[in-house]
Amino acid sequence: MIGLLVRRNLLFILMSLEVMVNAAGLAFVVAGAGHGQADGQAMFIFILAIAAAEVAVGLALVLLLYHRYRTLDVDVASQLRG
């Protein structure tokens, strides 16, 4: 979560997002283990799939950003305000 707030590079933001989602997945696995059910792991697999989809679209957007602004600094894309 800290990475998301601190870093300016879009790639790094995507990476920190991945970490956050996986952390939630891990929490599920632990919860599942606590109750001795397999649901936790099943949920984790779903989360992995979702994270993958997100990253795919994210990278596509990163490409577009670089193509347009020649930089990965996310603050460059802040025309919309007010």
Binding site: M1, L4, L5, D75, S78, L80, R81, G82
Partner: protein, 632 residues
């Protein structure tokens, strides 16, 4: 014949309507015919009604003609009804006859004025509303006439509207009379809520039965009605408007500000005399107001240079006499003085009109002089009226009516020595300023050359009025001069008899003698000051004290300045500063606050991604904390 009573106010009203709507299209001749003609017709009808009233007096001495119910709201049902009794009969006769003469006079006086039809329309409306006032059966109808008359005086004073000064004088008149009317309307509310009716006759009966003498309610009602009367009749607290009202054309001053309207107050108090009988304090107040006004106006009249202003002040002081008479309980004397005053004061104004017209609209008496030879008819009629006003003994009507009032000021139930002295001193003042006026305008060397001779239409009414001014007195002569009580006997049915008080220090003859003395003294002083040695005037007014006194009296005892400072300035000041309605700024402030909030919130929309993420995280932390902390 009595059935035609409703015709009397209806005729002038019809005249007003025709002139108002079709006036501009009618020729001058037609307007001159309709205006006075209608009033003449009304005068004729009122005389015939008077005749039938004399010959076959209706039962109970009064005749009521009901037209329609005006309103009927749960117990309050004033009717549009006309009530005729000796009091309103006399008033009606005077109003219609003097009214007609003045109309006839003004056909020529206003000849070259462009608002000709408008003038006669207003005059007819005035006569109509005055008659409604006089004949009104209940106080609400009287109030309707009362305000109508006020409106017409506003319209007529401000007749030459192009000059803003006239407009201001007209508005001043309306405001001051309106103050009086408000006091009167409060009186009406008090009377209705306490006694349950505004019908004058049963109001009087109720007042008599329910209120014991000296009851506070009666005093309050009396004082409120007195307030109304003072407003309309320009008595002490509210007399500032009458001198300025002279801005109107002279016939209007003659009709409204001399003969009829200003005496409406007298009529009101006479009509509701039971209330004043029930509360002696109110009655004494009337007497006090009368006496005070009488003196103040007398002094002010002496210092005026404008002939009409001087006449205006003399009217105020004469009405002061009438109030004095009402105050001491000499009801019929007051009405008698009203009748005589109407004749000679109207004549004085018409004469002044001729003089002003003759000297090319010159108002200042000091610039006139020696008109005796050029305007003989005017001079003689003016002189007769002047003597009648001053009270030339035995011959003029003024002497009898004023003498009667002065005698009653001492002799009658409410009378006292102080009042009598004030009345006598007033008589002295009256004769001084009257003769001052006559000597300044008609005697001495001619300063202004005469431009315009009065035509027949102006001379005949003046002569008729002069006749009445002289003759009218013999109707009511004091004891030692033939003891004729025709007038008071006639009034007997409507107004109670003035009762003599016991232990009188002096007889009627004595008081009449003193009055004659006062008249002669006044004549001498005036002759000595204004004709013999004009230089003497400067000697009086030169020293600073004399100058201060002169200025003080001239400006109506500083009343004008006082009211201006007290009421007019603060209102204008408030109007200037508060044009933008300060309540509005409160709502503007609310709008400003919302705008400021908007600016603050807008700044949160920075557009930077990381700032958004930070806010989301902060929000989450806050809510988790909130959820944990909150009690289950």
């Amino acid at each position: 014949m009595l059935k035609l009573l409703w015709l009397i106010p209806a005729l002038p009203c019809a005249g007003f309507l025709t002139l108002a709507f079709f006036g501009p299209r009618l020729s001058r001749r037609a307007v001159a015919l309709i205006g006075p003609g209608v009033v003449l017709a009304s005068a004729v009808v009122s005389w015939s009604v008077a005749m039938s009233f004399f010959l076959a007096p209706p039962p109970g001495g009064a005749f009521v003609q009901e037209l329609w119910t005006w309103m009927d709201v749960a117990g309050f049902h004033p009717k549009m009804a006309l009530y005729l009794d000796p009091l309103s009969l006399v008033m009606m006769l005077v109003v219609t006859s003097v009214g007609f003469l003045i109309h006839w006079y003004s056909t020529e006086f206003m000849a070259e004025d462009e608002g000709y039809s408008r003038f006669f329309a207003y005059m007819n409306l005035f006569v109509a509303s005055m008659l409604v006032l006089l004949l009104g059966d209940n106080l609400l109808l009287l109030y309707l006439g009362w305000e109508g008359v006020g409106l017409c005086s506003y319209l007529l004073i401000g007749f030459w509207y192009t000059d803003p000064a006239n407009g201001r004088a007209a508005r001043k008149a309306f405001y001051v009379t309106r103050v009086g009317d408000t006091a009167m309307s409060l009186g009406l509310f008090l009377l209705f809520t306490q006694l349950g009716t505004l019908q004058i006759q049963d109001l009087m009966r109720e007042a008599h039965d329910q209120w014991g003498t000296g009851s506070k309610l009666a005093t309050a009602a009396g004082l409120l009605l007195l307030g109304g009367a003072c407003g309309k009749s320009a008595q002490l607290p509210l007399q500032v408007w009458l001198p300025d009202a002279m801005a109107g054309p002279t016939p209007t001053s003659a009709l409204i500000h001399a003969a009829t309207m200003v005496t409406a107050g007298v009529y009101l108090i006479a009509r509701t005399h039971v209330i004043f009988e029930v509360s002696p304090t109110a009655q004494f107040a009337v007497a006090a107001v009368g006496a005070a006004t009488l003196l103040i106006a007398g002094f002010s009249a002496m210092t005026q240079w404008d002939i009409k202003k001087s006449l205006a002040f003399s009217t105020i002081s004469q009405i002061g006499y009438m109030f004095l008479a009402l105050g001491v309980g000499a009801w019929s004397a007051a009405i008698f003085h009203f009748m005589t005053h109407a004749f000679f004061k109207a004549l004085l104004f018409l004469g002044a009109g001729i003089v002003i017209e003759a000297c090319h609209h010159e108002h200042s008496m000091f610039k006139m002089g020696g008109l005796r030879k050029e305007l003989p008819v005017t001079f003689w009629t003016f002189a007769i009226a002047g003597c009648s006003l001053a009270g030339l003994p035995l011959v003029t009507a003024g002497f009898y009516s004023k003498g009667l009032i002065i005698w009653n000021a001492y002799a009658s139930a409410g009378g006292s020595m102080v009042l009598w002295l004030a009345a006598v001193f007033g008589a002295l003042l009256t004769s001084i300023y009257t003769f001052r006026m006559i000597f300044l305008t008609f005697f001495g060397e001619p300063k202004a050359h005469v431009v315009k001779r009065p035509g027949a239409a102006m001379k005949i009414p003046v002569m008729i009025l002069a006749f009445f001014a002289a003759v009218a007195g013999f109707v009511e002569t004091p004891g030692f001069l033939g003891h004729a009580h025709v007038f008071s006997n006639f009034m007997q049915k409507a107004l109670p008899e003035a009762v003599e008080r016991r232990g009188l220090g002096m007889s009627e003859l004595g008081s009449e003698a003193v009055v004659m003395l006062a008249f002669l003294a006044g004549l001498a002083i005036a002759y000595f000051f204004f004709l013999k040695k004009p230089a003497l005037q400067e000697s009086v007014t030169e020293p600073p004290v004399g100058q201060a006194v002169h200025r003080f009296w001239f400006s109506d005892w500083g009343m004008d300045w006082l009211y201006d400072k007290l009421f007019v300035q603060p209102l204008w000041w408030f109007a200037r500063i508060n044009k933008r309605d300060f309540i509005d700024s409160f709502y503007a402030a609310v709008a400003a606050v919302t705008r400021a909030l908007w600016v603050v919130l807008r700044s949160t929309q920075t557009g930077r991604l990381r700032w958004y993420a930070a806010v989301i995280v902060a929000g989450t932390i806050l809510f988790v904390a909130l959820a944990l902390v909150a009690k289950p």
